[in-house]
């Protein structure tokens, strides 16, 4: 097996203050190209883990390698660089900059990352392709992001996470504001596009019903020794 895309060993993270240790993960790894569904209770540390993987937070101890980068060893600036170049992010809501058009929102990472810009080739064409694949008709592209429905906004966020083909796409409950039918459609589109781009997908939710769309399911409780009771 090739080197894992994500590799955690004996990772410990604690928030400052009384909350104390939040994550204590003996072992967790994700292979390149996998689509992983990570679920767990609210407050179980899912978002915290994603922040660690994106290089925003650093663990207190343990091994944390993403794409071969030893994140804790990198400086803050280097971790920022790593995130822009290699990670696409989608959040639960409020993903889009209100005063930018749909297209400009999608192009955002290519503004900040040379690598994403280069990998996107013709950035506009590539944004157009992604938007098309994600069922966003061309007449919406020039609109302000705020004029879209929430479901449309989440698909725009997905297009943005995918532009410039980052190796890792992280989605933190992107479907919680959608109804069941839209959730399913969104997950199908996202999975298909990640596969097409060769991106690894880490999808977080507390909603177990979504698990069926994914090849691998991981429960937070199974990898994290800190349980809600002790946290």
């Amino acid at each position: 097996m090739a080197e894992a895309l994500i590799e955690l060993r004996d990772l410990v993270f604690r928030w400052p203050g009384p909350a104390g240790v939040c994550l204590d993960i003996p072992e967790f790894s994700v292979a390149a190209g996998e689509q992983v569904f990570l679920h767990g209770e609210s407050g179980g540390g899912k978002s915290t883990l994603l922040n660690l993987l994106a290089g925003v937070l650093v663990p207190a101890s343990g091994r944390l390698r993403v794409l071969g980068h030893d994140l804790p060893a990198l400086g803050a600036a280097a971790r920022d660089r790593f995130r822009v170049d290699h990670v696409g992010l989608i959040f639960q809501q409020f993903n889009l900059i209100p005063y930018l058009s749909v297209l400009d929102n999608v192009l955002l990472p290519t503004r900040f990352s040379k690598r994403r810009r280069e990998r996107a080739g013709d950035a506009r064409a590539s944004a157009a392709t992604l938007l098309g694949h994600l069922d966003l008709p061309e007449n919406l592209w020039r609109r302000d992001a705020t004029q879209l429905s929430v479901g449309q906004q989440q698909r725009v966020a997905a297009a943005r996470a995918l532009i410039g083909r980052p190796e890792l796409v992280i989605a933190d409950e992107p479907t919680s504001a959608l109804d069941a039918a839209r959730q399913a459609a969104f997950l199908d589109l996202l999975g298909r596009e990640c596969a097409a781009a060769g991106a690894t997908l880490l999808f977080v939710s507390h909603d177990q019903r979504l698990a069926a769309h994914f090849g691998r399911r991981v429960a937070m409780a199974d990898i994290n020794r800190v349980t809600m009771a002790t946290a």
Binding site: L50, F91, P98, F112
Partner: protein
């Protein structure tokens, strides 16, 4: 940085109303700052231009500043006069090209009456050695002729041929009127922007004539000399307040000054107007500094507004900044974004403020000159003003680092999850 610029612009446009108000506050404070600075300059220049071409001002020995105050600005009261004998002696001195005696003490509706000779209209210079010019009429010739300064004529609405009566002292005392001897306006001077505009000029003999039946500052009771009879009296002045001297050669000015100070017959004093004016201006330095302090405060208030608006807006921009950060903006990009905005707003404010001031100068400059004698010229910013503007921009940029720093901290604390 270049990738931030379009974003900064779009973001600013999105908040154009609140930013517009901030900009307006800064424009106003810059306009005020520069405006006060220009007025100050104009006042200083106008001050120095009140008299020129006069080599020495002579008066009874007192303080030089006081002498200039009443001889040039017709302010305050002369405590002592110089005798007519001294005036005649100095006027006859071979080094003296011309002399203008000035006698003060009366007023007309608050405007000082200046007793002098027709030489005044010929030799007095102001500003850039500009002579006095008549807007209308001619110098006084008859005993009860008066020549008005431009402001007196305009404010009080006098025309040639109008009759004016003078009051004793600075006026305001009942019964201290020279109403038995009215004067006729025979001339109105063109505006000079100097204290000349506020003068009512009459002959020294007329000054004597209206005081013939006065003694010790009050009319002698039961005794009055009608105007048609005054010519029978000796109207030769006995004393004047000050004497303006023009010398044939400037080189002789210090020798002349010493000679006058050493005059054995009477305790006299001669001052160089330029030196005394500079000293006088120094005494006004407090006012000057107060003005500058006020405008500095105004600018500070403008900046406080800038910081307040930007800081208040940070809450609503928090989400926007978090999204930017999740999509590749580094914390220092976020910092730069805010600092850039503050800096740009300040620079725009400084530029627009300068423009606004130019517009104002064009629009109301002539009016200010006419009413206050302050000549505000439309001009490119001077070095001093550029320094002020530079200070404003530097301060504004510095001040906008505060929200930038705050946003930086926030973007670190928020991580990737937009907290709203």
């Amino acid at each position: 940085m270049t990738h931030l610029l379009p974003l900064a612009l779009r973001s600013a446009w999105n908040r154009r109303y609140s930013l517009g108000l901030t900009l307006l506050a800064i424009v106003l404070s810059v306009t005020l700052l520069l405006g006060i600075e220009r007025m100050r300059e104009a006042a200083r220049t106008g001050f120095g231009q009140a008299v020129s071409g006069t080599d020495l001002i002579v008066g009874a020995r007192s303080s030089p500043i006081q002498l200039v105050l009443y001889a040039v600005f017709r302010m305050g009261e002369a405590t002592q006069n110089m005798s007519w004998a001294s005036v005649e002696k100095l006027a006859a001195h071979p080094g003296v090209a011309w002399s203008i005696p000035i006698s003060l003490g009366d007023s007309h509706l608050g405007y000082p009456v200046v007793g002098t000779t027709p030489d005044y209209f010929e030799h007095f210079r102001h500003g850039d050695r500009r002579p006095l010019a008549f807007a209308e009429g001619r110098p006084f010739a008859g005993l009860f002729d008066a020549v008005l300064g431009a402001e007196v004529a305009e404010r009080l609405g006098y025309r040639l041929g109008d009759r004016v009566t003078l009051s004793h002292g600075m006026g305001g005392f009942a019964g201290a009127e020279h109403d038995d001897k009215p004067f006729t306006v025979v001339g109105i001077l063109a505006r000079t922007g100097t204290p000349v505009d506020r003068g009512v000029h009459i002959g020294l003999e007329a000054m004597e004539a209206i005081h013939l039946d006065w003694q010790g500052g009050a009319p002698v009771p039961g005794f009055s000399i009608p105007p048609e009879l005054v010519a029978k009296f000796d109207l030769k002045p006995k004393a004047v307040t000050a004497l303006l001297l023009g010398l044939h050669s400037r080189a002789g000015v210090f020798a002349m000054q010493r000679a006058i100070a050493d005059n054995p017959d009477e305790a006299l004093m001669a001052v160089l107007p330029g030196v005394a004016l500079a000293q006088l201006w120094e005494t006004l330095a407090v006012v000057e500094r107060a003005l500058l302090a006020i405008s500095a405060l105004v600018v500070a208030v403008g900046f406080a507004g800038l910081v307040a608006v930007v800081l208040a807006g940070l809450g609503e921009r928090r989400r926007e900044l978090a999204i930017l950060r999740a999509n590749g903006a580094r914390p220092r990009d976020v910092f730069a974004l805010l600092a850039l905005e503050g800096c740009a707003v300040t620079i725009a404010g400084a530029l627009l403020g300068t423009l606004a001031l130019s517009g104002l100068t064009l629009a109301v400059g002539p009016w200010i000159e006419a009413h206050y004698g302050l000549a505000l010229a439309l001009a490119l910013p001077t070095a001093a003003e550029l320094r002020l503007l530079g200070l404003v921009v530097a301060a504004g940029t510095l001040v906008s680092l505060v929200p930038g720093w705050r946003a930086y901290r926030m973007s670190l604390a928020d991580g990737l999850t937009p907290r709203v």
